[in-house]
Amino acid sequence: MSDAAVLAHADDSHGSAEAHVEHATATGIDTKKLVMWLFLASDCMFFGTLISTHLVYRKVYPYGSNEKGVIDIIKTFDIQLTSFSTFILLMSSFLMALAVSAMHKGQIKSFRRACIGVMIFGLIFLTGQVYEFTHFFDGHAVYTFSVRTAAGESISSTYEGPADQTRAKADLARRLFRDHPDWLAVPTTANAADKALAPAAQLARHPDWIVPAMKQVKVEKPSLSMQNSVFGSTFFLMTGTHGCHVAIGVLWLASMYLYSFTGRMQKNMHGAAIDIEICGLYWHFVDIVWIVIFTAVYLVEYIPGYNPVQ
C-alpha cells in the first residue's frame, strides 16, 4: 500500500472529540484484533500449564491419588452430562460466529438474537458445570442407619446420599428432623450449654442425637474434592479456571448486548463489528480449550488400560 494513501487517513479527525480516530496500521491488521490474538497465544500457555499439571500428575499417580481407593474417576464422572455440555458449548460457538457475521453485515437485531443465544448456551454450560462439580463433590453412597422414634422404637432403613460420612449424616438428620421433629433425643449426658439451645441448633451441632448409628454399605461414586486427592486438585483448578473464563465471556456478551441498546454502536458500526469480533475470538478460544480438556481429561479416562481400576 502506498505511503501516501496511508497518510491520507493518518490524522483524519472526525471533528467530534468523541469520535474514535482510526489510524491506518502498518500491517493492515486492526490493532485490537492483533492484541486479542496475542492474548489468546498467551492464554495457550496458561491453559497449557494447567493441563500439563493435570496430565503429569495423571502419569505419576495412576489412581489419581497417592493412595489406592481414594477416588474412582470413572464412577465419579458422568460422561453423558459432560458430553451434553460439550455439545452446548460447540453450538454456542456456532451462534457466536453468527453474531459476528451479523454485526459485519450491520444487522443489529440479528446480532442481538444470536448474542442472547450464545449467552443462554453459555449459562447452560455453566449450570452443567456447577451441577457436575457439586455432584462430584458429593459423590454417592448407600448407608444403613437406625433411628429411635418418639415412641422409643428403633427403626432401620437405608439412605442414599453424599459419599462423605459427616455430610451424609447431617443431611439425613435434617430430613428426619423436618418430618419428625419429636424424634430428636437429647441425651442426659449432654452439657448445659447444648441443652439450652433451640432444637434446630442442637440438630446442627449433634446430628447423632437423631441418627445414633449409620454405616456406609457401598460407595457408588466416590467423592472428588480439591483436598482429597491430587486428581481432585488438578481437575477442579483446571475446569474451574475454564469456567471462570466462560463466566467472564458471558459477562462480556451481556455488556455488549446491553450496549447495543444505547445507540452508540450504530454511530460506529465498523468499530462495533471489530469489538464483537474480538469478543467472538475470546469465546471461540474458550470453546477450543474445552475441546482439549474434554478429550485429555474426560474421554481418555475411559480408554482401557489408561486407568488401572478399569
Binding site: 493518518a10 480439591m226 486427592s229 486438585s233 483448578l237
Partner: protein
C-alpha cells in the same frame, strides 16, 4: 469543536466523557501525573519508582554484606537474613530492573518508530498503576512486620515471617502453610499483581511496534532497541502464564489445602521447581535483552559507525528468546533428572551461548575501525560488553552438568548471576540513563561525576563479585547467614563487602545526579547532543507532548544519521494540520483499577493472618478493579486536538563540525 482545538491543554473547555463526568485533561501538577496517558510521563514514573526500589534493594544487599563481612556475626537474625535475601532478589528483579527497562520501553519506543504514543495509552497507565500496587503490597510487608514486632499484628499461625523469607524462587514445600508464615502469601500475591502489569505492558508494546510504525519503517529498519523490546515482550507474554498458574497452585495449597505441592497429599515439590523455572529462565532473558538493545544503540552512536551485522544481531536476539524456553531445567541439574534429561538441557544451554557470543562479536565489530568517543554512556556500554562476557563464561561453566554439581548453591552461582545482572543488565540500563537523559529532561547529567560513577560501579562489581567465584569453588554455600571462621573465607568476604559499599555509593551518586538533573530548570542541551543515529534525536529536548509535529516517512535504517550526514533527508508527512494533532484523553480509571488490585492482595494476606472480614476486603478489591474497567470502557477514548508548529522541516540538526567530541558538563 473549536474548544477542543487548542495550543495548550490547559486552554481546553471542560470535556465530558461517555459517563458524563469531566475528563481530567486540563490538569497540571499532581493530577496531571496521576491521570496521564502520555508514554513519556509514564516512562519517567516507572524510572523514578525503579530507582527508588533499586536503592531499597541495595540497602537490603548492603545489610547482607555487612552481616557476612566477618565470620560468626549476629548483627541480624537468621530469619531476617532469609527475608533480606528474598526481598533483595525479588525487589531487584521485579521492582528494579524490569521497571527500569519498562521506563525506557515507554519513553523511547514510540519516538524511535515515529509514532505519537503507544497503541493503548490507558492500558499503558494501567500497567504503571498495577505495578505500583504490586510493589506497594510487597514492601507494605515491612510495615506489617514492624506491627508484628511491636505486638499489634499476630498472625493466627503464630509465625513471624511476615516479610517474605522463602527465597525469590519460593521453592515448595518450604513455602507451604506449615513452614512459612504470611510472608509467602505477600510474595505470591505481589508477584501475581506485578505479572498482570507486565503482561498488559507487553501486549501494548507488541501492538505498538508491529502496528504503529511510521510509513517506511519496515521491521528491518527498526532500531535494535525496538527489536529487543519486541522479543522481550513476547518472552513476557509466554513466560508469565506458567508462573501465574504455579503461584495460583501454591496459593490454593496454602489457602484451600489442595495437593499440588503438599507431600502429605501426594504433591510433588519438584513440580514447583519445573513450573517456576519454565518462567524463571525466560525471565532472565527478559532482564538482559533490553540492556542488550540499549548497548546496540549506544555503541554505534559513539563509534560513529553503523551497527555491525544488524540482521544477525536481530536474529540472534530472537533465537536467544526462543531457546530461552528450552533450557529451564539447567537450574535443576542437582535434583536427579536422569541422564537423558540432564544431557539434553546441558546441550541446549551451551547452544544458547552461541547467539549471545555472536552478538558480542558483532558489537566488537561495531567498535572496530570506528572513531570511538569515550563518553559516559559509552564507558558503561563497553563495561557491559566486558562484564557480561565474564558472566557468560561462568554461565557456560554451569552448563556443563558435572561442573554444575559442584557449583550449584555455592557462591559461584551468585558470582555468575550478579555479573550478568549487574555487569550486564544494570550497566546497560545505566548507559541508557546517561544516553537518554538529555532527551528526557533537556539537560545533560554531570559527566565528570558520571566518569567517577562508572569507575565505582565497574570497580565495585568486580571487587564484590570477582572473589565470589573463588569463594564458591572452595565451598562457601549460598543463603547461609553466617559462617565459621576457620574455612579460609574470611578475608575474601571482607573484600566483597568493601566492594559492595563502593558499588552502592556509586549507584547512589548516580541516582542523586539523576534527581538533580530531572528537577533542574535549565533545558539547554539541544535536540542531539551526542550526534546520534535514530529518530528520537530529531525531536526537541524535552520532547513535546505530541512527539512528532509531522510524522516522518522513513526510507532507510538510522534515518536521522542519514538525514544529517549522508544526504538522504527524512521526508515528512504533508497531511493537513489545520485540525491539529489528535491527543488521547487522560483518565482516572487505570489508577482506580490498579488500586483495586492492592486492596485484593492486602485482603488475602490479612485473611491468611486470621484478621476477620478481610475476605470482604479482597472481594471488594476485585469489584473495584472490575468497576473501574467498566467505567474505562464506557467513558470512551475521547481526545482533543493540539495545534502544533507546522514547519515542514525538523529542527535543524547541529552541524557535525561545531559539535564537541564529548559533551562536557558545565556545572
Amino acid at each position: 469543536m473549536s474548544s477542543t482545538l487548542v495550543h495548550d491543554k490547559t486552554e481546553l473547555s471542560v470535556q465530558r466523557s461517555g459517563l458524563g463526568l469531566p475528563r481530567p485533561d486540563r490538569f497540571v501538577g499532581w493530577r496531571d501525573w496521576a491521570t496521564t496517558v502520555d508514554h513519556k510521563k509514564i516512562g519517567v514514573m516507572y524510572g523514578a519508582a525503579a530507582c527508588f526500589f533499586f536503592l531499597v534493594g541495595g540497602v537490603e544487599a548492603l545489610t547482607i554484606r555487612t552481616q557476612l563481612a566477618r565470620p560468626m556475626q549476629h548483627i541480624i537474625t537468621a530469619q531476617l537474613y532469609n527475608q533480606l535475601f528474598t526481598m533483595h532478589g525479588t525487589t531487584m528483579i521485579f521492582l528494579g530492573v524490569m521497571p527500569l527497562s519498562a521506563a525506557f520501553f515507554n519513553f523511547v519506543i514510540p519516538l524511535q518508530i515515529g509514532a505519537r504514543d503507544v497503541a493503548f495509552p490507558r492500558l499503558n497507565a494501567f500497567s504503571l498503576w498495577t505495578f505500583f500496587a504490586g510493589a506497594s503490597l510487597l514492601n507494605f510487608s515491612w510495615f506489617l512486620q514492624v506491627l508484628n514486632i511491636i505486638g499489634l499484628l499476630n498472625p493466627v499461625d503464630g509465625r513471624t515471617d511476615i516479610v517474605p523469607g522463602g527465597g525469590w524462587f519460593g521453592y515448595a514445600s518450604l513455602t507451604e502453610r506449615p513452614y512459612t508464615g504470611i510472608g509467602t502469601d505477600v510474595w505470591v500475591l505481589s508477584l501475581q499483581i506485578l505479572g498482570v502489569a507486565s503482561l498488559a505492558a507487553a501486549f501494548n508494546f507488541i501492538a505498538t511496534i508491529i502496528n504503529l510504525r511510521a510509513p517506511g519503517m519496515t521491521m528491518m529498519r527498526l532500531p535494535v532497541f525496538c527489536w529487543m523490546t519486541l522479543v522481550t515482550s513476547f518472552l513476557i507474554i509466554f513466560a508469565f502464564p506458567p508462573i501465574t498458574i504455579a503461584l495460583g497452585e501454591l496459593l490454593f495449597d496454602r489457602t484451600f489445602g489442595t495437593n499440588f505441592f503438599r507431600v502429605e497429599g501426594g504433591g510433588q515439590p519438584i513440580f514447583w521447581q519445573h513450573l517456576f523455572w519454565v518462567f524463571g529462565h525466560p525471565e532472565v532473558y527478559i532482564l538482559i535483552l533490553p540492556a542488550m538493545g540499549i548497548v546496540s544503540e549506544v555503541l554505534p552512536t559513539f563509534s560513529r559507525k553503523p551497527l555491525f551485522g544488524y540482521p544477525i544481531i536481530v536474529f540472534s536476539g530472537a533465537v536467544i528468546g526462543l531457546l530461552g524456553f528450552a533450557v529451564w531445567s539447567h537450574h535443576m541439574f542437582a535434583t536427579g533428572l536422569g541422564k537423558v534429561a540432564t544431557a539434553a538441557f546441558s546441550l541446549l544451554t551451551m547452544a544458547i551461548a552461541v547467539p549471545t557470543g555472536v552478538k558480542i562479536f558483532n558489537w566488537i565489530g561495531t567498535l572496530w575501525g570506528g572513531r570511538v568517543r569515550y563518553s559516559v554512556p559509552m564507558i558503561f556500554s563497553l563495561g557491559f560488553v566486558w562484564e557480561f562476557m565474564l558472566g557468560g563464561f561462568s554461565g557456560v561453566m554451569h552448563a556443563a552438568a558435572p561442573a554444575d554439581a559442584e557449583q550449584h548453591d555455592s557462591y559461584f552461582i551468585i558470582a555468575h548471576f550478579h555479573y550478568v545482572l549487574l555487569g550486564g543488565a544494570v550497566m546497560g540500563l545505566l548507559s541508557g540513563i546517561y544516553y537518554w537523559m538529555p532527551k528526557i529532561s533537556g539537560k545533560m547529567m554531570n559527566q565528570k561525576l558520571g566518569y567517577w560513577v562508572s569507575a565505582m560501579v565497574i570497580g565495585g562489581i568486580n571487587v564484590t563479585f570477582g572473589p565470589m567465584h573463588y569463594l564458591g569453588l572452595i565451598g562457601m554455600t549460598r543463603r547461609t547467614y553466617t559462617y565459621l571462621g576457620d574455612k579460609g573465607w574470611n578475608d575474601w568476604n571482607m573484600v566483597c563487602t568493601i566492594g559492595a559499599f563502593v558499588l552502592g555509593i556509586g549507584i547512589f551518586l548516580c541516582f542523586m545526579d539523576l534527581v538533580v538533573t530531572m528537577f533542574s530548570k535549565n533545558r539547554d542541551c539541544g535536540p542531539d547532543p551526542w550526534n546520534a543515529r535514530t529518530l528520537e534525536w530529531s525531536l526537541p529536548s524535552p520532547v513535546p507532548a505530541y512527539n512528532f509535529a509531522r510524522l516522518p516517512i522513513v526510507s532507510t535504517r538510522d534515518a536521522w544519521w542519514m538525514d544529517k550526514h549522508a544526504g538522504i533527508p527524512i521526508e515528512y508527512d504533508q497531511a493537513d494540520l489545520s485540525h491539529g494533532v489528535h491527543m488521547p484523553s487522560q483518565s482516572w480509571m487505570p489508577m482506580g483499577a490498579g488500586f483495586g488490585f492492592f486492596m485484593f492482595g492486602l485482603g488475602i494476606v490479612l485473611m491468611s493472618a486470621g484478621i476477620p472480614y478481610c475476605g470482604y476486603l479482597a472481594i471488594s478489591g476485585l469489584c473495584t478493579t472490575t468497576l473501574f474497567i467498566y467505567l474505562w470502557a464506557l467513558e470512551g477514548p475521547g481526545g482533543y486536538h493540539l495545534i502544533v508548529p507546522t514547519e515542514s522541516t525538523p529542527p535543524s540538526p547541529t552541524p557535525a563540525r561545531s559539535r564537541a567530541p564529548v559533551a562536557v558538563s558545565h556545572h
